[in-house]
């Protein structure tokens, strides 16, 4: 594995991303979007695509920049710092990785940012791909999908969907699932936006006899989890990176506040009780950042064996983000609880990120199993 420190190229990428996001997607943009009822700013996404971010995982032969997982993680971390919203994770990371192996015609449109994707897997309250029930029943040369999916990130705005459906077996069987790549405007598909606490695009999607053909199948019929795995792993790693950046973001905001707020005639940052809590949080964030870097490196060098490190990253990032926002709001005191102040945005996104693509328990169990526990 390559070194866990940033290379020179990565440092440049990080600095460029931070500069761009600070200027064009600071926290105030999230507030503006929320107040306007928008999930993200399409013009911002267009600019991200122009910089190559939409094609970060798309092969150069399909017009992408093909920068790799660690680079995608660095972009995600920086987006997490300012809570910049975009279809980056769903489209540029998850879909691009799920479609790479099949050299899909849609990769070029992902890279240009014109087409955005959403991943429709979960049907219950907890992430569990194997539990998929939504049947895709054979019908002539094709399939008919009937059922529902929930908590579909970017589901209301996406132009295409990757849908995991059951073609054989029972819910809980890891085999018997098939991954479909279908147009979001296809007949029988009904999208119902969820008003999520983080003010982003999540949706419930109902399938009423939606037609799919053999050409819509990604990978092999009945082996959809294998086709999905690269996308899911990449998404989990990038989401972990976002949560790691989010933790650093709220922490920086909190440290700034500790240095400036006065009470009892002193700067509150001089109180040892608060200093020690801030220092402990620093330690947790540092330890998590290492897991993030390792997951990115592992995906770039040996993706088939990277799941343990990816799950380690997602587990750690989930816990660290929860701690960071709790400590952040607590140390801000009453002002941290107000909607006028930005701390709450971090808290809400951290909670959403904690659930999406597998919570702490889901990923810690994968790590433990790999360690023989």
């Amino acid at each position: 594995m390559d070194k866990l420190s940033d290379s020179e190229d990565e440092t440049l990428l990080r600095d460029a991303a931070r500069g761009f996001l600070d200027q064009f997607a600071p926290l105030s943009v999230l507030r503006k979007n929320r107040d306007a009822g928008r999930d993200y700013a399409p013009e911002l996404w267009a600019e991200m695509a122009q910089m190559g971010w939409a094609g970060v995982m798309v092969p150069e032969s399909h017009g992408g920049a093909d920068m790799g997982h660690r680079a995608a993680g660095i972009l995600s971390e920086e987006m997490g710092r300012t809570l910049a919203a975009s279809p980056f994770l769903s489209s540029a990371v998850i879909a691009a990785n799920a479609l790479r192996a099949s050299a899909s015609d849609h990769l070029a449109a992902i890279a240009s940012g014109e087409t955005t994707y959403a991943l429709a897997i979960d049907e219950g309250a907890k992430h569990n791909p194997a539990a998929t029930a939504l049947p895709a029943t054979a019908d002539g040369n094709g399939f008919r999908l009937t059922g529902h999916k929930t908590f579909v990130a970017d589901g209301a705005s996406a132009s295409r969907l990757l849908v995991l459906a059951r073609t054989s077996g029972k819910p809980g069987d890891p085999l018997g699932l098939t991954l479909f790549d279908i147009d979001a405007a296809r007949a029988g598909l009904d999208t119902d936006p969820i008003q999520s606490i983080d003010s982003r695009d999540f949706a419930r999607i109902d399938f009423d006899s939606v037609n799919a053909t053999g050409e819509d199948v990604v990978g092999d019929v009945d082996n959809g989890l294998a086709a999905l795995a690269p996308g899911l792993r990449a998404g989990q790693a990038a989401l972990a990176a976002e949560l790691s950046g989010l933790s650093a973001g709220i922490s920086a905001m909190t440290i700034g506040y500790l240095k400036e707020r006065k009470q009892f005639g002193r700067t509150i940052g001089s109180f040892q009780a608060l200093q020690h809590r801030a220092a402990h949080l620093f330690a947790e964030i540092e330890v998590t950042a290492s897991a993030i870097a390792a997951a990115g490196r592992a995906l770039d060098s040996d993706p088939a064996n990277a799941q343990t490190l990816v799950s380690l990253a997602k587990a750690r990032a989930t816990q660290t983000a929860k701690l960071a926002v709790m400590e952040g709001v607590q140390m801000h005191g009453g002002i941290g609880m107000t909607d006028d102040y930005d701390a709450g945005f971090f808290m809400k996104r951290a909670r959403v990120g904690a659930e999406w693509l597998g919570d702490y328990g889901h990923h810690a169990a994968i790590v433990a199993e790999s360690r023989g526990l």
């Binding site: 200093q275 220092a279 330690a283 330890v287 998590t288 810690a364």
Partner: protein
Amino acid sequence: MSDPLENFRSEIADWIAANLPDELRGVPTTEDTICWGGRNWVFTSDAQRLWLERCAERGLTCPRWPSEYGGGGLTRGEEKALREEMTKAGAPSPLQSFGIWMLGPALLKFGTPEQKAAHLPDITAGKIRWCQGYSEPGAGSDLASVQTRAEDMGDHWLINGQKIWTSYADKADKIFALVRTDRDAPKHLGISFMLIDMQTPGVTTRPIRLISGASPFCETFFDNVKVPKEGAIVGEQNRGWDVAKYLLTHEREMIGGGGGGLTSGDTLAQMMGTLDPGTLNDPVLRAEAMELEVDAMAFALTMERYKDMSEAGQGVGHASAMLKYYGTELNKRRQEVLMSAQGSNALDWEAGSAADWLRSKANSIEGGTSEVMLDIIAKRVLELPAK
């Protein structure tokens, strides 16, 4: 095999295969069988002596040190390959000592050519065993308040005072100590870093028995001890604090990173076959074990990342206090989970790992308490204000 690192790896694997005595292969070392070397060292076996001599000859007791002082002159990548090949072959560490971990790095940075030549080869060969004389009664983590006095008597220093928590002082040949050479200077500016032979008349030690039953720590007394001036002080006179600070950073990384007693005892994964069947079916224990594995793996990666950052010139500086803080707290948690997993089997002094569990409680006290580490992070890394 054109990759030089791979060449080195296969070369060193061959060397280990040819030189590691069979009876040491795959036998875990314990507190009693770790080789510390020194004038009074009694080898546990001929094999232990042979292994030390061969490794020292090849520069493997201090792989990264310059070869002119008996080191191996290896790069970090080579050292890592060496470590991996040693582990693969089931080879014990040939030598451990405070000379390797602490004094050596300080001499390499601050020592005169004469001091390096006088001390480093004896450390790499395991001929001289050093101990560390920092803490004093009443000083605790406030190291700069040392009171042990060194008076300038013309051709020698006259030392009077007392040190405490001097690990293995009763077994050491020499001590590197912080002594006050200027009582009028400000707290941090009147201290010198001094090398003293433990056999000098007036030096006595007394072990301190710990709750774990063992007594690695001692009290050390200096009663009119005469130290010849030649080569006694490392670094500048009265600027010993600079040397001490540099050393403490090393110590923190070592304790936090598993060099200093943290590797004693197994991980839960290694212990799995020895536990009563179904032990981990208990949901509370299982959850604790899972959380521990997650944090332990992430911490190991952090050690790796910090090393990579140091090498890449992205200095980590005071953030090394984080390694000490996190590593020691993590080890205490690990010992706690291991005790739970073993149940009553752990409670037998002879058979169980209770001694490791008891010993681990000191991890967050020695080498600067966890609270001191948090202070360092808050003030030096986060730059939180004093008022």
